[in-house]
């Protein structure tokens, strides 16, 4: 409650028809409480489907700590249709939203018709209603679709439960794996395994390919791997070291770093005609490029001022602009999906933390509190950042919602996990 520190501005006008105005700037630190009622089932369907589906939705919704739930055994009733639904049953339990649903059998082949509704208890209205046709085998996918719709309705943001995460696992000193999994950590797939380091994974905008850096031939090279076929192609760019590939928003080119004799500069590489165009030319280190969502600008790290700082370059006019001035280490910048803010690694008294900054202001806001945080990646809806950090010598992935209400860490894997890359949304 100490957090409720706010500015009070009152206006008592001296006009006769004056009206007092009270400003509310700060919201509550509390989370919305959602009740996930076990779905009702039509007779003849296996009983645990109803519980399974509501539990899946609950797990999804709670994944990033954005909501609070109501335990099933605390519920006063288990309605499965609007007729049995009484707002006061939920109001007394302090519930903000309730999810109910019903599974109906379509035919004997296991096809199901799943209907669901979402209620806003405080406003006493139904805010969402829907139906999905599916089968017994893909209950998990159906749950994800329903979770996305509920999430979108409550938060007004795109649902992200069907997104994926790419990351690098270093299970022992000589094993490096390029992996992808669902955002909840399930269905892990090893794309590529090597004795030499792997770095910098990045998803193509169509979610079909991943670009990354591999040292398998003794030096840093960029590969593009097709997720469906598993085929790998190296980019034969000139120079000693190729690194930090990032896809342009249209998927037609990569921004990457080529080093001629220890002078890394940013280049644009067109995938179709394999041409390299120079973007920066400076004797300092220029690296870690990333595109703005409108693909007009590229943010990059440069030590041209003596310490690593973030700069922005217009890809057409090649005009550069320095973005960070405070602190002696600001690197690996990425734009928010709305293009108005950036997030990056901020070095502060020997600690390296994830920070954000509005492009329009100078103020740097630190989000994390551990000391070796790096490689932040943002959810496609711009609400959650996942980053790599360390606990002793073991790397794991942590996450934080941008309102700072929730922190979480992803399930621990065998070995050191690093360099998360959040996939785009399915189009």
């Amino acid at each position: 409650m100490i957090k409720f520190f706010f500015m009070i501005v009152f206006l008592v006008s001296n006009h006769i028809f004056s009206i007092l105005e009270i400003e509310i700037l700060k919201g509550s630190d509390n989370l919305s409480k959602v009740a996930f009622v076990p779905f009702g089932i039509e007779s003849g369907i296996e009983e645990n489907y109803g519980i399974q589906i509501s539990r899946n939705i609950e797990k999804n919704m709670l994944l990033f700590g954005e909501f609070e739930n109501l335990a099933v055994n605390e519920m006063l009733s288990y309605p499965s249709s609007e007729n049995d639904f009484y707002y006061r049953d939920w109001k007394v339990l302090g519930v903000d939203y309730s999810v109910i649903g019903k599974i109906n059998s379509v035919n004997a082949l296991g096809n199901l018709n799943i209907s669901y509704s979402l209620f806003n208890i405080n406003r006493r209205i139904k805010i969402l209603e829907g139906e999905i046709l599916g089968s017994e085998d893909n209950i998990e996918d159906i749950s994800k679709i329903i979770s996305n719709r509920i999430y979108e309705k409550i938060t007004g943001l795109r649902g992200i439960f069907d997104t994926k995460l790419a990351y690098v696992v270093n299970s022992d000193a000589n094993t490096y794996q390029m992996c992808i999994s669902d955002i909840d950590g399930k269905n892990e797939q090893i794309l590529f395994s090597s004795k030499a380091p792997i770095m910098s994974p990045d998803w193509s905008p169509d979610r079909k390919k991943i670009a990354y850096v591999s040292f398998e031939n003794g030096l840093a090279e960029i590969f593009i791997q097709d997720l469906q076929s598993g085929e790998r192609d190296s980019i034969q760019a000139l120079g000693m070291t190729n690194s930090a590939p990032v896809w342009s928003p249209d998927g037609k080119s990569l921004a990457l770093v080529v080093s001629f004799s220890g002078n890394p500069d940013i280049f644009l590489y067109s995938i179709r005609n394999k041409r390299l165009v120079r973007l920066t030319n400076h004797y300092g280190i220029d690296t870690e490029p990333s595109w703005s969502p409108d693909s007009k600008k590229i943010i990059f790290t440069s030590d041209r001022s003596g310490s690593p700082q973030l700069y922005e370059i217009n890809t057409k006019s090649k005009r550069k602009k320095r973005l960070t001035r405070d602190g002696n280490y600001n690197a690996r910048g990425r734009y928010f999906p709305d293009g108005k803010s950036i997030f990056f690694v901020h070095g502060n008294n020997g600690n390296f933390q994830i920070a954000t900054k509005k492009l329009s202001s100078r103020y740097i806001e630190t989000l994390t509190s551990t000391s070796l945080d790096e490689s932040p990646t943002i959810s496609p809806n711009g609400n959650i950042i996942i980053y790599a950090t360390k606990d002793g010598s073991n790397g794991y992935l942590g996450g934080i919602t941008l309102d700072g209400k929730a922190r979480f860490s992803l399930p621990v894997k065998n070995g050191s996990v690093r360099e998360p890359a959040w996939s785009p949304l399915l189009k």
Binding site: F4, F10, I16, I19, I24, G27, S28, N122, S341, N383
Partner: protein
């Protein structure tokens, strides 16, 4: 003759102008913190104070004192005038002081109750996550003297739907603003019978 008239005219105009300026400065001033800005209907207050002074004990005590002075020492007539002039100054000072006290008391009450209302709404308003744009929405509220919310209306919705929804949800959660029931009735009618809440999102990441 004409010349004299016009010069008189201009003289009066200047006088009027000067008196206007003077009246501007003679309005009692309030000391208000930078974070709080308040404007009060001064005319009303001054009139009230005049009424108060006419029948006030202060005036009678002044009279009594002057009587006492005259009885005790007849030679003290010039000093009586002195005392009177002193009282005159004191009277205006006291007038100011009282209006200030009245004002600050009223102001304090309004500020206190407003702060409580603000805190209680802040504690239940679940702001939608990561709104990167700055948004403003205005809700008008009708209160009963008991503090019950009789009616509320989103009079100026923002452009963001989920922001508006979150405000409506919060307002629905709130049924009573108890604090106003302890207020002076007049103050309540003037300020809290009908007031506005302005919900703001600066778009900053918190």
């Amino acid at each position: 003759m004409n010349k004299a008239l016009t010069s008189l005219n201009t003289f009066f105009l200047i006088l009027l102008f000067l008196s206007l300026i003077f009246s501007m400065f003679s309005i009692p001033k309030l000391n208000i913190d930078e974070t709080q800005s308040i404007k009060v209907n001064f005319y009303e207050l001054i009139q009230e104070d005049d009424i108060l002074f006419d029948s006030s004990i202060l005036n009678t005590t002044i009279k009594k004192e002057t009587k006492k002075a005259s009885v005790n020492d007849k030679k003290a007539e010039p000093s009586e005038a002195e005392i009177l002039s002193k009282f005159k100054i004191n009277k205006s000072d006291i007038k100011n002081e009282i209006s200030k006290i009245k004002l600050s008391k009223e102001r304090e009450d309004i500020l206190r109750v407003s702060a409580i209302i603000q805190a209680s709404i802040s504690s239940i308003w679940i702001k939608p996550n990561s709104l990167s744009e700055s948004l403003i929405a205005k809700v008008s509220i009708n209160l009963a003297p008991s503090g019950e919310i009789l009616n509320f209306d989103l009079i100026e919705p923002s452009s963001n739907n989920s922001f508006n929804e979150s405000i409506l949800t919060a307002m629905n959660k709130m049924t009573f603003l108890e604090e106003v029931s302890f207020l002076d009735r007049k103050l309540f009618e003037e300020n809290f019978r009908n007031f506005n809440l302005v919900f703001k999102s600066s778009g900053e990441i918190e």
